[in-house]
């Protein structure tokens, strides 16, 4: 649950989730919606994947991401979005993981 909370604490990652709600998207399409560099986006994807909020599958050379949220996680994401909350979550074991990669 801590992973989930950390993943959802960033507005960019919540934006990724809301994009995926409309349907599966490739990594490139997703990255096109944000002004960040590819490595930054890749970090975001990794965090989301580790929290099991999205799943990626390889289709040729691209990776297609699918939403993999439970209702609770979806509701949490909506809630944080609605109040624009960006809570700071302490990184427990994996060090400064990716919660401050966004500029």
């Amino acid at each position: 649950m801590r992973d989930v909370y950390r993943a959802l604490s960033d507005p960019t990652r919540r934006a990724i989730i809301s994009l995926l709600r409309k349907g599966d998207l490739s990594a490139g399409d997703l990255a096109g919606h944000f002004p960040f560099s590819k490595p930054t986006m890749s970090q975001h994807f990794t965090v989301l994947k580790e929290a099991r909020l999205i799943e990626g599958r390889r289709d040729g050379t691209t990776i297609i991401y699918t939403l993999n949220v439970s209702v609770l996680e979806d509701a949490l994401s909506h809630l944080l979005d609605a109040f624009n909350l960006n809570p700071k979550v302490k990184n427990s074991k994996k060090g400064a993981h990716a919660s401050n990669v966004s500029p």
């Binding site: 709600r21 799943e55 599958r57 699918t66 993999n68 439970s70 209702v71």
Partner: protein, 346 residues
Amino acid sequence: MHPMSPPDRPVIRTWTAPARFIFVSCLLFVGLLLAGSWWAWRHLPVGHDFYFGRGFLLVVPAIVAFISLTALPKSECVRSRWKFSSRGLLPVCSCFFLLYAAGSHVLLILAAIGRPVHATVQWMLVPVGLFNIGLGNSLGKCRDDFFFRIRTPWTVRSVLAWNRTNRLEAWLYVGSGLIIVGGAHRRVRASAGHRHLGAGSRSDGDVLGLFLFAVARRSGSGGFQRVRTGVAAMKDQIRRWCRAAGLASVVMWFVSPAGRSVAVAASVGATPPWPRIEPTYRDVAYAQKSPAEKLDLYLPETRSHPVPLVIWIHGGAFMVGDKRSMPRRDFGPPPPPRGPYGISRV
């Protein structure tokens, strides 16, 4: 591309092991049910038709549970040639169904032999609500699940439609669960006020919750993508709809039972706050045409003057049944010792 078996996602074939598990547990379950029914047979309500009779109540649900939990998922799966992947949802749900049915069965028997189950029966829908919440919540994580998903021509052929429909389904499941759990409190309160189990056993919350549940089962009706057109497609759809409706009704049958067993247990065994009374005159024949034409007479203890008489007639239009089908053997408070009324159970 097939939603069930994307090329690089490992399809977890969990069918064989759970199948055996479900089969054995169902057998055990049916056996226990039958044993319990046999033990308590003479206490159980007779009923004047098959539907409410003790035979139906105790045997048929077990058989239907058995068939639907063992054969149904498999046959659907074989027919549509899908790779079955339950990811653990179905075994867990089966366990819940079995435990729940066994629990309500035990309650029914306890009620029939006269144990107080009033308080327990009130809360019987709560586990159902919790189950809906849990199931709905985890549906989004188990997109490969076959059994609980809405399978229509357009959802199975498009990953997008499959995922979106089932995300909606998940939300509706959770909503219905919340409403059922929330309604339970109201139901208990209402019933405590009435001191009468039947009056409070149904609340609009349950109805709404179960309705939402039904909507959840059918929420694919919007249709995101139509693949075939024309009469053939319509026939195809109707066929699949019938199948889906059948499955939905089976599931509803499990979940609403709850309502039904509550009603039955309530009618059989509501333990009234007054002591059980014996009739003053038992099995008085009031006609000679049939051995069923007998009545029980409950009279005040002091019988010095005429008192009004309440005549309570069983359902069946004097064509079927007799007074034993009257749901509650312990009806109403006994006639007060000095009147003012007597009761005749016909």
